[in-house]
């Protein structure tokens, strides 16, 4: 393999896959307070790999090679620490001995560590958006620059946000090596919300960069899979969330055209939907059906199920009934508007308009978009007025274009 190929293909791929796992395993040993040490060792390991492999070629078992190097670097670190501890502050406390760092990188240890790290990151001490940044950096191995691109934010802003979040994390006193059921049930909802938001960040991304969007979505799926694969977290609502993410992902390719404009659901080319992901979604949706638990993820997954199913009888009745349940569990303006869309499908646009206008969300872009859509067949001038209002309110250029197109269609009808 040429050096060019090594740097452009194999390493970034391995880096993403292994860096976060390695950091998690090391961190579990050092404690969350020393997350920087763990990250340094993981970074140094990958640096060494890039140098060594460029000269000597890629070893037969790259993963094994990486972990052996990381282990040795960890040992060196502890030796240096021991020297420092014994010379500078003798007899205060015994430094970590060789025995203590005889850790394994077995698949079980990696899985446990990764799980613990997911729960550490989803700490209530940080706000949701900080948790997502942190998740991208610590769990997914994204650079500050990549995160800044994803959020369309300045690098400095993200850097500051991460610094604060990490400081909170260090002081959180969360024990990575003793993840127990009580802690899991206390934090699971936060974990799921972080993964959900991470996915949405990709799905409804502010950035036009298709690659970043896809990566955010697939990372969210990957983290949800980690949860379903672990006995402690393989519970109904986790399966429900994963089913939702699979269904949504199945339509990723069909959602934008070559000009990066959003394609409305009804105009999507269904042959671009990924049947494999739909099948996976069905599998997890069935798995999520256990006991009487119906979480918001159950309902959203069920709604997404109907959106991925070819038109069948009573499809919109099912969707409307699911939204009726969803607004009881979690009220949000978006859910209300989506419910009205379903309502209009069942009872007609006039009924939808009446329900929407009751909400009176003048400052909400999606509100005007919905009314524009509902008025289209009833009163073109009102539809255009609402679409114009939506264009004023949206910040996304892609959306502006889509709305502009809708207006043009109305004018030349």
């Amino acid at each position: 393999m040429s050096e060019g190929k090594l740097h452009s293909e194999l390493l970034p791929h391995l880096f993403r896959q292994e860096y976060a796992k390695m950091t998690a395993v090391l961190c579990r040993h050092f404690g969350l307070q020393h997350i920087e040490v763990a990250e340094d060792i993981a970074s140094e390991t990958f640096l060494k790999a890039s140098e060594h492999w460029a000269i000597h070629g890629v070893p037969a078992n790259p993963q094994g090679w990486l972990y052996t190097v990381a282990k040795n670097k960890a040992k060196d670190y502890f030796k240096r620490q021991a020297v420092f501890e014994s010379r500078v502050k003798p007899a205060i406390q015994p430094a970590a001995s060789e025995a203590e760092i005889a850790f394994e990188f077995s698949s079980q240890v990696i899985a446990d560590s990764q799980l613990a790290m997911i729960f550490a990151v989803a700490s209530p001490v940080n706000a949701a958006e900080s948790q997502i940044c942190l998740a991208l950096q610590v769990l997914c191995g994204f650079s500050v620059e990549e995160i800044a691109n994803a959020f369309l934010a300045k690098k400095e802003t993200i850097k500051k946000r991460l610094l604060r979040a990490r400081e909170n994390l260090r002081n959180d006193n969360f024990q990575l090596n003793a993840l127990n059921e009580a802690e899991i049930s206390a934090r699971l909802d936060t974990v799921l919300r972080t993964i959900y938001l991470l996915f949405n960040e990709g799905y409804f991304s502010k950035t036009d960069d298709e690659v970043i969007r896809r990566e955010l979505c697939s990372e969210a799926v990957r983290l949800a899979v980690v949860l379903t694969e672990h006995a402690l977290t393989n519970v109904a609502k986790v399966s429900a969330l994963l089913a939702l993410l699979c269904f949504q992902s199945s339509r990723l390719a069909a959602r934008t055209n070559s000009n990066k404009e959003t394609i409305l659901f009804e105009e999507q080319d269904r042959s671009l939907w990924d049947q494999l992901l739909i099948d996976k979604g069905n599998h997890f949706l069935v798995n999520a059906c256990a006991g009487n638990e119906v979480s918001k993820y159950h309902l959203e997954a069920a709604i997404a199920y109907w959106h991925t199913t070819p038109t069948v009888d009573k499809k919109w009745e099912h969707i409307l009934s699911l939204y009726d349940q969803l607004i009881i569990i979690e009220y949000s303006p978006v859910t209300m508007l989506n419910r009205i869309f379903a309502l209009a499908k069942v009872r007609g646009n006039a009924a939808g308009i009446a329900a929407a206008e009751e909400l009176n969300m003048e400052d909400n872009c999606a509100y005007h978009e919905l009314l524009g859509y509902l008025y289209t067949s009833l009163a073109a001038h009102k539809a255009i007025a609402h679409y114009n209002k939506a264009i004023e309110l949206t910040k996304s250029n892609a959306e502006k274009k889509t709305l502009q197109k809708a207006i043009e269609r109305l004018m030349f009808k």
């Binding site: 099948d279 979604g281 069905n282 599998h283 949706l285 069935v286 999520a288 059906c289 256990a290 119906v294 159950h298 997954a301 069920a302 199920y305 109907w306 199913t309 099912h318 009934s321 699911l322 349940q325």
Partner: protein
Amino acid sequence: MKEFALIFRLQDVADSKPSPEQLQERMNWLAGIVAQNKLVDKGNTLLPMQGSAKTVRPGNIITDGPYTEIKEFISGYIVVRAETIEEAVEMAKANPIYKVGGNIEVREVLKRD
């Protein structure tokens, strides 16, 4: 709402080991019921093979398999929620089991307490 057991019957033991495609088809059918919030219990598959199935009769008579005089055997069951038995029958109609000559018995569950 009432609950109904859907009891699956097959004729050929070989069909109780479905192909991945058949499994997926069944899963997709089941997902449609879950998405209506009408699956009460995803039930179980019952193995008909020798060593997995015996029938105990009066007088300590034990025979292999689930078979009586008819060839059919129960391959599994699920429980669904429905307003009426007609609605439960509609759900059963869409199952892929008929392609392999199977059938589904729909039975209302008597709910105690």
